[in-house]
Symmetry: C2
């Protein structure tokens, strides 16, 4: 059901990154569900994680290790089990998986970051995972991004990856990333597992800044169902394989590399929405005329998360009254309805708070019949704006989530 989304082709290898996959039969057998990413010595890693108070065990361990060491050498990712709400036993399970990777690669357990996605509240099948780690290590290869993207899928129907190449003063830099979605998606720090790597020699501060700026304009601008996962994690790995001079935040090359990172993150975030559970529409929401960006986002999310807006879009029904309802419920203090405008692509529905005299039902219906369109809102009270991406709400969403564990 994904909207205008196909398997990624031509994911560019990133020097200093090797990827290996294996089957651990975590949820069920018959597919690879364990991914190992090995990073060259000297790599710089930054991560952003969920704001959910019930952060999963692997998220807790990532935060701990990123604080303790700057020399991350590997990421271990499993699909099918989130290792969340598993208490102290879950934390111990996560530690044992990183120890197994450390043994296989010859580094310290703290140099291995764990990531999990899947069902919440169940223990990991630890023995099967520990047995699969050496297989994933034996599978490590430089170009295996496509297999990696497939391995981390859960309810995703299409694997997600994106690449950019940019010429810097020290030579060509590559950025490649993969992500998975596609339910429990309203990231507030990052999304449900995205891994981005570049061979640029970014400083730790530049790595962190580039990641945060990119996430703010990508994963933090999407919602499928308003639910924030316990396992959201987005990591940027800079392997320092291009050039010899470090790229700091003030450098000219930083602008080039961080722009490429941002583009990869936006493409991945859009992939997550295009493949949102049950999605049949890919909807951009642009809110302008706000007093500040927070207010613009508040209105955008109110529209994007409204079940009534989403079900109307699924039906191809330009029921713009529901968009107006969502703007009105967003809680913008002192909003003056008489200054609000709403359009679907270039068809104006509401202007100055009044229905536009030229609007005809057929014109709105023609827009929302398309698989992709934009809901534009003007609040008429300032200059700030925001852009979000979301999808519609279909029978299929209910089906996927009602049958998820069966």
């Amino acid at each position: 059901m994904a909207v205008n989304l196909s398997e990624p082709t031509n994911l560019l290898p990133v020097t200093g990154v090797r990827l290996g996959v294996a089957e651990a039969a975590i949820k069920k057998p018959g597919r690879n569900d364990l991914l190992l990413i090995e990073l060259a010595e000297g790599s710089c890693v930054a991560g952003v994680f969920t704001r959910n108070a019930f952060a999963a065990a692997p998220v807790q361990l990532c935060r701990e290790s990123l604080k303790a060491t700057s020399a991350i050498r590997a990421l271990l990712v499993n699909a099918g089990n989130a290792n969340a709400a598993t208490g102290s036993a879950g934390l111990e399970d996560a530690r044992r998986t990183t120890a197994a990777v450390a043994a296989a690669l010859g580094c310290a357990p703290q140099q291995v970051l764990p990531f999990s996605t899947g069902v919440i509240g169940q223990r990991l099948p630890l023995e099967r995972m520990l047995a699969a780690v050496p297989k994933a290590a034996a599978d490590l290869a430089a170009g295996a991004w496509a297999a990696a993207a497939r391995t981390i899928m859960t309810t995703d129907t299409v694997s997600k990856g994106a690449s950019r190449r940019v010429a810097t003063s020290q030579g060509d830099v590559t950025v490649t990333g993969i992500a998975k979605g596609v339910g429990m998606i309203e990231p507030h720090m990052a999304t449900m597992l995205a891994f981005v790597a570049t061979d640029a020699r970014l400083t730790p501060a530049a790595t962190d800044a580039a990641l945060r700026a990119a996430v703010d304009e990508s994963f933090n601008c999407v919602t499928v169902d308003s639910d924030t996962s316990t396992n959201d994690s987005c990591v940027l790995c800079a392997t320092a394989q291009v050039g010899t001079r470090e790229i700091g935040i003030g450098d000219a090359d930083y602008a080039l590399v961080s722009a490429a990172i941002r583009e990869v993150c936006i493409e991945l975030a859009q992939c997550v929405v295009r493949d949102g559970e049950g999605a049949t529409r890919f909807i951009t929401i642009e809110v302008g005329g706000a007093r500040d960006v927070a207010e613009a986002r508040q209105v955008g999310y109110a529209i994007a998360n409204s079940p009534l807006v989403k079900t109307a879009m699924f039906a191809g029904d330009a029921n713009w009254g529901r968009i107006v309802m969502a703007i009105g419920k967003a809680g913008v203090e002192g909003l003056d309805p008489a200054r609000v405008g709403v359009a679907l692509d270039d068809v104006v529905l509401l202007e100055g708070g009044e229905p536009h005299p030229d609007y005809r039902e057929e014109r709105g219906a023609a827009i929302v019949a398309r698989p992709e369109f934009t809901i534009r809102v003007g609040l008429g009270r300032g200059d700030a704006q925001a852009r979000l991406w979301t999808c519609d709400f279909s029978y299929e969403y209910v089906k996927i989530n009602a049958e998820y564990r069966t």
Copy 2:
């Protein structure tokens, strides 16, 4: 699909209230869709209305008239069209309907309050409504509460009403109310149209206080789909037909009458949820151990509005990981997962942030297979608590709202 809900029987007449209905073919012909409620002279009316910034034309007019006069004599209610987002023309339409009622009953237009529910963004079929007003006036009768409750239904599958009788120092007082739902329901001041009447001789201040207290514990504690209507209105009419002494807030009778009003409102609010669009489960959410009520409600609403919790409940799947996710995403500053407990009815799932050792999947499944159950949450950080009611999220919700205008 309503959960343990049948048509109200034995709705008690309230002295001083007459009700009449008529067909205006507002959305489609073949049913009564216009309700007129006439109040005895000397009645005292209080109202609470939506916080949606796009308050509908009738809501704007209600606020204006309640400010201007204390001598309300009639309420006019239509189903099938919300008269919201209709600009200045919609406001004029609403005025013309109140003028028609005033002409039929011999009072001033300002003494008539209008209420509308239905599609947003379309003009009222004014001529048909004006023609139906005299018919509704001719139909006025003291006991017509059941017909009134049926007349205001939209996507409701069962009409909603409740009555209480309470003995006061001046004689028996009756409270009867009707309401309609059942989508776009997360009232923040009141719900989508509820009308409650009593024959008690309440002072204006007591009428207002009794309404606000009742709404706060009833309509402001339910959610079907997190969307707040542009037309939410709840009105309490005290017709002053019992006794001769006014009942003020400090009087002993006030406690009796206001408790009856609260009970009627809670029953009506629960009816709205039981008949929530597509509902197959009626779910009570109790959150305790909070620092304050606002925090308890914040967590309760995060659970109640989570599409993932709601679809799991629809499936009869005790996927409690999603409940934990929702608690965690609620945004409670400094929440300590290690102090959180979760139970389904009396089956403990999580205690001190750890899965309960005695929990077995079958025990949770047995609870959520029931049509009614309670999700209990303890936050372990204070003494405040809150109770909400919600329903599950089914294929039928998507179907109802995808096909609403077709």
